[in-house]
Symmetry: C2
Subunit: 96 residues, 2 copies
């Protein structure tokens, strides 16, 4: 989701990235960005304004991940509704 958002938007401020990643906690987003930055999939740029503004963007390597992730996301969006429906029917059977 972060990779998709950065692939679509280019560079984004932390707050904008958080707003476009519904349901993610600040802690999880920060940890994920740090991991992506360590693996050089994402760059972090600090604008020395007051207060400082932090920007994230995909590296060329990070951008190459967008396409295979998009294929998997598309599969999930197509098929997860039927799988989820089966899971909740199974859940009702197990916990009547």
């Amino acid at each position: 989701m972060i990779v998709k958002t950065l692939a679509e938007s280019g560079e984004l401020r932390y707050a904008d990235l958080k707003r476009r990643t519904p349901g993610v906690s600040a802690k999880m987003l920060t940890q994920t960005l740090r991991g992506l930055e360590e693996d050089q999939l994402v760059t972090r740029r600090v604008e020395p304004s007051i207060p400082p503004a932090v920007y994230y963007a995909l590296t060329p390597l990070g951008l190459t991940l967008d396409e295979p992730l998009a294929a998997l996301r598309e599969w999930a969006e197509t098929h997860m509704p039927e799988i989820d429906a089966r899971r909740s029917r199974a859940g009702r059977l197990r916990n009547p």
Copy 2:
């Protein structure tokens, strides 16, 4: 990996599937197969021989997952060596 193996081989006995999935424990393989079966990505067929033989195969839905997973696997096989190399250099810097 299980999806790839079953996509390539068609139906496989449990023991053959385990042999072709290096490093997986019996517990992890069994749990994974049970999850895939519950989501109807995989079928389980018991041949009533002595001892009974258990066969697993992808359903048509499971087969549709092979292509997007293959794209992600290919990305990982292409890029993980350089990412792993960076990680171990970073590890050496952190733990000199």
